[in-house]
Symmetry: C2
Subunit: 152 residues, 2 copies
Amino acid sequence: MKILTKDKGREYEVFSHYLKEKDLKLTAQRELILRTFLSHRGHISAEELYQRAKEKLAHVGFATVYRTLKHMTQCGLARELDFGNGRIQYEPDFNREHHDHMICTKCDTYIEFLNPQIEELQEQVSRKHGFKITFHRMQLYGLCQKCQKSGK
Amino acid sequence: MKILTKDKGREYEVFSHYLKEKDLKLTAQRELILRTFLSHRGHISAEELYQRAKEKLAHVGFATVYRTLKHMTQCGLARELDFGNGRIQYEPDFNREHHDHMICTKCDTYIEFLNPQIEELQEQVSRKHGFKITFHRMQLYGLCQKCQKSGK
DNA sequence: GTGCATGCAAAGGCTTTGCATACCA
DNA sequence: TGGTATGCAAAGCCTTTGCATGCAC
């Protein structure tokens, strides 16, 4: 069963290309999970993605969601986020510029940001120690504007 | 059974003060776990702390280590580190200046660093978004000097 | 003596894996 | 048709919790 149509966006090309390259198969489930993932704005947990996918196709398994997320991460369509709450979140990562996060510890909303000066300083610091960065995680936890006000 | 002697360091005072304040008891296990934790240089996982404590006192339980770590974290003697490998590490945090980490993904060694400029920029960025930081996590992953050389 | 602490084992939460069946290519 | 994918359930891994007993105060 092939559901993929053309012009769904580059992500679908990337995915099918990745699958072909690895001798993996394009299944209805994989396509559905990708579509569901992409249609969700912002990050999502495996559990939530499973729920949303299941609404569209009853027989989708938990394991398949996890396995597909691994593939999507592998080919650069998804990025794992670990906000230290014991469950990994995934966010779309295709053609997206690197960014970091501020997370409100009260309402769980988050703000994405990119600060080139910080990035540059990270490089400087690591060079000073002879360290070669391959990736980094930076998360600022605290209260968003709304929660600061409502808290008082 | 009281094992605590004077002059073991301020950490012991902090711990016993915290316990007293919370109507908690100073037990041989708690003291042993704290001592073992402090004697270990650098961070340590609950599992490893359990093993090391057990060497000194056969009857130490897993749960007690976890429970004691919570207390030590609570009173500022320990700090939880999550390097995204599924197990929390704890590092001594008494009278220590805040710092971040570079972690070698090959040999697992790490370098602590503090960059005031980055800290300041984090504040600036968050102010710009009306966000109030309470704490942050910043980890640079990559290769340490040694592993860069050995890798070639 | 009272009430918290302990150790053991069981349970929890998230993620991965094994296996027989289903399905893509 | 052959080999991968799927769904289910079970297992893994780390951490927490329940409970009867033990111990600090």
